[in-house]
Amino acid sequence: MTPAVQLDGVQVAVAGRVLLQVPHLVVQAGERVAIVGPNGAGKSTLLKLLSTGLPAHRGQVQLLGRGVAPQRLKAAERRALRRDIGVLMQGLHLVPRLSARSNVLVGALGRLRGADAWRSLLHRYPLALVDEADQALAALGLQDLAHTRADRLSGGERQKVALARVQLQGPQLLLADEPTSALDPAATTQVCNALLAAASGPGRTLVTVLHDLTLLPHLATRVLGMAQGRVQWDQPCTDVTPALLQQLYEPGPAKNHH
């Protein structure tokens, strides 16, 4: 099986500042990977790179077996790739004036073909999809808010709607940046279950950036510890010790603090 992600000698720089350096990284299809690390460690940059939202300025990037960098993708190829990569970013917003259900259905746009694709321009969807959207909303406890406009929802509700949208997209590679940051404990459980459901299925891969380390065993089988734009360690979840984490979040005083 082709790996979901393969990076070789990748460097990402914005305005001359190197934000991320990954000599070699492979994520196999079907893996569940969590990325942990302090602020500014390059976690979100890595996630953006994997979502084709940020170009690598050096090195080779292969996503789902398709080369993304250094070669440039054609518009249709890029669309096909985006369709297979689900993104749940902080700051990836909902369309404010559309209802929660319409926002969820946006996730299915890339799946529509032929006449259905044309009908979608008028915001008309196949009934099966509408059912699917309602089920995704119900699984997150939002069945009563299906017709509420997105800009009238609370922060946590919006996050759930964004998750339902990704579920409808049915991606091979699911990237989530702190998916539970705005949620209370009950909602956190719901969202984690929905994330796992969205990433279950043959060859589906889940990559999450996490700050809530108690979720590590639920969402990941493999953990990448990042700091200063580099992957510092790469361990199975069972081998992650408090000492490893502490070393990541509080590096030796001689190294950073002058």
Partner: protein, 276 residues
């Protein structure tokens, strides 16, 4: 820096006008003001109900020249006024609609965040800028020469000028979009048309309608002037009243214009509130 420049411009304007003697108010400003105000204070429309039924015009030696039934004359004027108002409203409505239709594609090309091909974007911005810079009246004068006198020239003149205004307002509301939401739609693998109709259109549509109502209201005012150059509507009657110094009729006309604009403003505010 800019404030200083502005100060210099204002001082220079006042100084040059004053030194050329162009800042005078005429010879009898107060007498003229009172006279005009007195005539304005009695709109001619009142005569349709309260005017003398037999007004006699006599020459200096007392011979009867002409007899006029003021009530009939003014009733006929009011009739013409109603028809002219309707024409004015038609010109403003059709002109604004045509303007919005023309402006929409241009605004999409001109909006900086939609990244239209550069030459097209520059061309669209140039067209919108030109349309905005040329006054409706000037467009009207040109078009009367092309399509002849009448409402058609008015509709086209309004459409061409308002296209510039509408286009700029539309482009600005597109530019104020939350691009993160649009990117999110694009990230689901949607095609460009789908991105537009799901990410852009729902958000900008209410703003477009609101801008369109504003331009429409503006055009009701503007189209009353268009009659001055023979493009039909209230302006024709205004022109007549002004050239015959019939201030009382002008007063009636202005009352109608004000009523028309205010009524439209009230309606459009309702619609805008409902849209938010």
């Amino acid at each position: 820096m800019w404030v200083l420049l502005y100060g210099v411009l204002v001082t220079a304007s006042v100084a040059t006008l004053a030194s050329a003697g162009d800042l005078s108010l005429g010879r009898h400003p107060w007498d003229n003001l009172l006279k005009t105000a007195a005539e304005f204070a009695r709109p001619s429309a009142l005569d349709a109900w309260f005017g003398p039924e037999r007004l006699e015009y006599r020459s200096d030696d007392g011979t009867l020249l002409r007899v006029e039934n003021r009530r009939e004359v003014e009733a006929a004027f009011l009739h013409a006024l109603a028809r002219a108002s309707w024409v004015t409203l038609q010109i403003a409505t059709l002109g604004s609609l045509l303007a919005a239709l023309l402006a929409l594609p241009l605004a999409m090309l001109a909006a900086r965040n939609l990244h239209a091909p550069r030459p097209l974007a520059l061309a669209a911005r140039a067209v919108l800028g030109t349309a905005r810079a040329v006054h409706t009246l000037v467009f009207g004068l040109i078009l009367v020469g092309i399509v002849g006198l009448g409402p058609t020239a008015g509709v086209l003149a309004i459409a061409l000028h308002s296209m510039g205004t509408c286009g700029k307002l539309f482009a600005e509301s597109i530019e104020s979009l939350d691009m993160a939401a649009v990117d999110a739609v694009r990230a689901s693998g949607a095609a460009p048309g789908q991105v537009f109709f799901h990410g852009v259109w729902p958000t900008v549509l209410p703003q477009f309608v609101s801008h369109h109502l504003y331009v429409w209201e503006f055009n009701i005012r503007d189209s009353t002037i268009l009659g001055l150059i023979g493009a039909g509507g209230l302006g024709l009657l205004i022109n007549e009243a002004v050239s015959l110094f019939q201030w009382s009729r002008l007063a009636t006309l202005l009352l109608v214009v004000v009523a028309l604009v205010m009524a439209f403003d009230a309606v459009s505010r309702r619609i805008r509130e409902a849209l938010l």
